[in-house]
């Protein structure tokens, strides 16, 4: 019996072994020994953060080349270096990424339902879209907290998830779990490349800002005393914060929710406050840039659009070179905005900050004369950005306007900025009602002339900023409304001596909705003038784009002398040639040019990295999102808006070009930041609890 048993077992064992050994010979599959070696180097957490089923899956993926050595979200750098060495790869520094919550309201959002079912965001979101009326807002149930394998996220006091940057491994589990897309994993590059989408938590001010600056965030940072953080937030969208802090006409403030309570938050004053702190600190805060890609891009024009494009290209790791026709960078910031509004020394400082990132500059190089698109390509530039601005003054269409003593507004300001001596005489007439006209008028006042501004509509319709108009008035500029020039009268030397104008009266509304001014017959009047400055408008000067016989132009243009390009990608009909700024939009705001420069840089980045495939999200925010524009804002206490202090008065103001406006003090800035409601799409921070509004409908 024992023998039979032993023999049977032995026989079974031997049979199995024999079959297996034959099978292993026949069925042998060569497996890469590196898989086991890589697996040994991985930490064995099996967290799945890499997207593969466990560490062995990740090891196999690394060896088969489907994943890189840095795929593990938990491994330390040494392990990655060892894996890379094993795989013959070089390890590159990974741009730090982190979970980021884009929701400002959370529980403070207006509540429609108090959801009392399963306490999980996904379940809540499936039922009636959750507890909050905001379609994008955080539900505050903490699903993200529960899924984080690294305890890097917790619910903060406001019922919103707070990420601990030291612990977060950017594994993305929270972003995956969040049904509202409130959390995303972002690094610097993805933030720079992001365009506002209607699914983002966009406060009204942020929707309106052409530069897409995250306004509530930087105001919140100011409120918390994190001034450097605020500067960094602004610089993620706008490298010219010091400039914009001075000259931006603040479209954001027109839609600020505080308009419904008292007056808008002094958004731009706050921007200027932090920008000036950086300026007076004397050193530029360090700006991180992505790893060098070594790809060369030519930026034609060193104005706000060109500077912004070069800045963002540099931050995305490319090597931009700015070609500028004038002797210094800045474009119309330097040559179109007078010193008293934007001191040149400060402008230089801000531009230097951009150049210090590693941007090359060639000054006094005129496009079309010294180089062209072909020669740039030959020099190894892989993409071209055309940001040549709008430098040609529009005429008055009045007889005699080519007489001596008549200067286009932008030409006059440029000549003055270049230090040319202009004989302006005693009496100056400025024609127009925009900011350029006011700049010309206030400049002439400072040069000692008596200035009259002629505008064909009423004061209420002047396109210039109200405070600029008041400033001009305070400085003694006189206005003549409802008057339009008809003829320039000159003397026998061909020099203008008088301007003849006609009075106007308002007729039927025109296409713009404003009542059209119509001339009053027989009201012609002659007005004496030593200098006449028509500052009626500007347009781009596109002659540089044409070849010598002025016939063919490589890009398509419009009848307003602007360049035609795709409105989303900013690419012209020539692949690899992009545009933005005034030459694309026609004369517009500095911040629009800055925003355009960034968007073009984004497109150029994709053009270079993805062979011309430039992704544009379907949910792009183009207009103000209607339901976020409130008619009234309840539960908010009224408070006084800060006043911009004036730096110089009286003669000093009228006779020198010293800066007129100053910056807020720290106390004023903190008080102003405190006025911000920190809005989201539908939520805002209320000052007071509104007990009656606390009643909720329970599901």
């Amino acid at each position: 019996m024992i023998t039979t048993s032993a023999l049977t077992l032995f026989g079974l064992g031997f049979g199995s072994a024999a079959i297996l050994s034959v099978a292993s010979k026949l069925l042998y599959v060569k497996e890469d020994p590196r898989i086991a070696q890589v697996e040994d180097l991985l930490p064995g957490a099996n967290c799945g953060g890499c997207g593969y089923p466990g560490c062995s899956g990740a090891a196999a993926a690394i060896v088969s080349g489907k994943a890189n050595a840095g795929v593990c979200v938990v491994a330390e750098t040494e392990a990655m270096v060892a894996i890379a060495a094993l795989m013959g790869q070089t390890i590159e520094e990974r741009e730090p990424e982190i979970a980021f919550r884009d929701c400002t309201g959370g529980t403070r959002a207006e509540e429609r339902f108090a959801y009392a079912g399963i306490m999980d965001c996904q379940a809540a979101a499936m039922l009636h879209g959750g507890s909050k009326s905001c379609p994008e807002g955080c539900l505050g149930l903490g699903t993200c907290v529960a899924v984080c394998p690294f305890d890097a996220i917790h619910m903060g006091p406001e019922g919103l998830p707070v990420v601990d940057p030291d612990e977060c491994r950017a594994c993305g589990k929270c972003a995956e779990a969040c049904p509202r897309g409130v959390i995303s994993i972002v690094g610097m590059t993805s933030r720079l490349l992001h365009l506002n989408e209607v699914t983002d938590c966009l406060a009204p001010c942020r929707q309106k800002c052409p530069g897409q600056i995250d306004i509530p965030r930087y105001i919140q940072q100011i409120k918390a005393g994190d001034y450097d953080g605020a500067v960094n937030t602004i610089k993620e969208r706008n490298p010219l914060l010091m400039v914009c802090g001075r000259v931006c006409p603040r479209p954001c403030e027109t839609v600020c929710r505080r308009n419904n309570v008292d007056s808008p938050v002094g958004i731009n004053m706050l921007k200027r406050f932090v920008a000036d702190r950086e300026l007076h600190g004397g050193t530029h805060l360090p700006v991180p840039c992505a790893k060098d890609t070594g790809r060369k891009v030519a930026v034609i024009g060193g104005g706000p659009a060109g500077l912004s494009c070069a800045y963002f290209l540099r931050r995305l790791g490319h090597s931009p070179t700015i070609f500028e026709a004038m002797p210094a960078l800045g474009g119309q910031l330097r040559y179109g905005i007078p010193e008293y509004r934007l001191p040149k020394a400060d402008l230089d400082w801000e531009i230097q900050g951009i150049l210090d990132l590693g941007v090359d500059v060639h000054l006094n190089k005129r496009f079309g004369k010294d180089y062209d698109i072909e020669s740039l390509k030959q020099d190894g530039f892989e993409a071209v950005f055309l940001g040549i601005g709008a430098w040609q003054a529009s005429g008055m269409y009045a007889e005699g306007e080519d007489l001596e003593g008549v200067w286009g507004g932008i030409e006059f300001l440029t000549a003055h900025a270049l230090g040319q001596s202009i004989d302006i005489g005693k009496k100056v007439i400025v024609v127009g009602g925009g900011n350029t006209a006011i700049d010309c008028a206030r400049t002439c006042v400072r040069l000692g002339a008596e200035v009259i501004m002629l505008y064909r509509r009423t004061r209420a319709e002047m396109p210039a900023n109200p405070e600029e108009i008041v400033g001009a008035e305070e400085e003694g500029v006189q206005f003549k409304f409802l008057a339009a020039p008809t003829r320039v009268v000159g003397d026998e030397n061909g020099r203008a001596t008088h301007l003849e104008y006609k009075m106007m009266e308002l007729g039927e509304p025109d296409a713009s909705g404003r009542r059209r001014p119509e001339p009053v017959e027989g009201s012609e009047t002659l007005m004496e003038a030593d200098l006449i400055i028509p500052a009626i408008g500007q347009k781009p000067d596109l002659t540089c784009l044409y070849d010598d016989d002025a016939e063919s132009c490589p890009v398509e243009t419009t009848r307003w002398q602007t360049i035609v390009a795709d409105p989303d990608t900013f690419q012209t009909i020539v692949p690899g040639v992009f545009t933005a700024g005034d030459v694309f939009t026609g004369p517009d705001l500095v911040i629009s040019a800055v925003g355009g420069g960034r968007k073009a840089a984004r497109s150029i980045h994709y053009h270079l990295q993805q062979d011309g495939d430039i992704p544009i999200p379907d949910t792009l925010q183009r207009d103000l999102i209607p339901y976020t524009m409130f008619k009234e804002v309840t539960g908010v206490r009224q408070s006084e808006r800060a006043q911009m202090p004036h730096l110089c008065h009286g003669d000093e103001r009228n006779c020198t070009f010293s800066e007129v406006e100053g910056a807020l003090s720290e106390t004023e800035a903190l008080a102003e930041a405190d006025r911000c409601l920190h809005c989201g799409l539908t939520c805002y921070d209320r000052d007071m609890e509104q007990p009656e509004e606390k009643e909720q409908q329970i599901l």
């Binding site: 079974l12 069925l27 599959v29 899924v147």
Partner: protein, 191 residues
């Protein structure tokens, strides 16, 4: 036909291999964190259980019994099942790589799965015919898979809930398995 139907119902619900017989608890807890993984593991168990039961039935009927060596059953079955799993793994790896990939790490896990062994032994104890044994094995495997997938579903939910730290993971998984087991007792009166 009715006999087989009852066999199926009994094996899947009434005598569920893991929830009523308490066999195969480690893979049950170990691979029930994610529904996808649970389905993979369940499929692998069905596959191996059917093959193992067939082969062990042959070993028992044509080797052990004629020689009067019934007492060697456990030892012999362990040997056969382990070798079988190894063989199947090698075979699939070479011949059907996609299937091998989809079964992935589950095949080697099954080598030491007492549920497979249990199914083979139950068939012998109940003296099933070969066809019946195979049917029973398939049904038991499906029962295992159902239990696994249900538990995985529950555990996926638990993953995002606030569970006391000490109870997270396996402890709460075991509690859930216990509750499921109680629930399956309700099927007892069915047959």
């Amino acid at each position: 036909m009715q006999e087989y139907f009852l066999l199926f119902i009994a094996a899947i619900f009434v005598n569920n291999i893991v929830l009523a017989q308490y066999l195969g608890n480690c893979p049950f807890i170990g691979t029930s964190k994610n529904t996808g993984v649970a389905i993979g593991m369940g499929a692998a168990v069905v596959f191996v259980a059917v093959m193992a039961t067939a082969i062990t039935w042959l070993v028992q009927t044509y080797l052990l019994e004629p020689l009067g060596l019934g007492f060697l059953q456990t030892l012999a079955f362990i040997l056969v099942i382990a070798s079988l799993v190894q063989f199947v793994e090698m075979f699939l790896k070479k011949m059907v790589p996609p299937l091998y990939k989809s079964l992935g790490i589950f095949l080697p896990l099954i080598t030491t799965n007492c549920a497979v062994m249990g199914i083979a032994l139950i068939c012998q104890r109940k003296e099933f015919t070969l066809v019946k044994s195979v049917a029973f094995a398939a049904a038991s495997g499906v029962g295992f898979m159902i239990a696994l997938v249900v538990l995985a579903g529950i555990r996926e939910r638990l993953e995002i809930r606030r569970v006391p730290r000490a109870m997270r993971g396996t402890p709460v998984g075991l509690v859930m398995a216990g509750l499921m087991s109680l629930a399956f007792f309700a099927f007892k009166g069915m047959i």
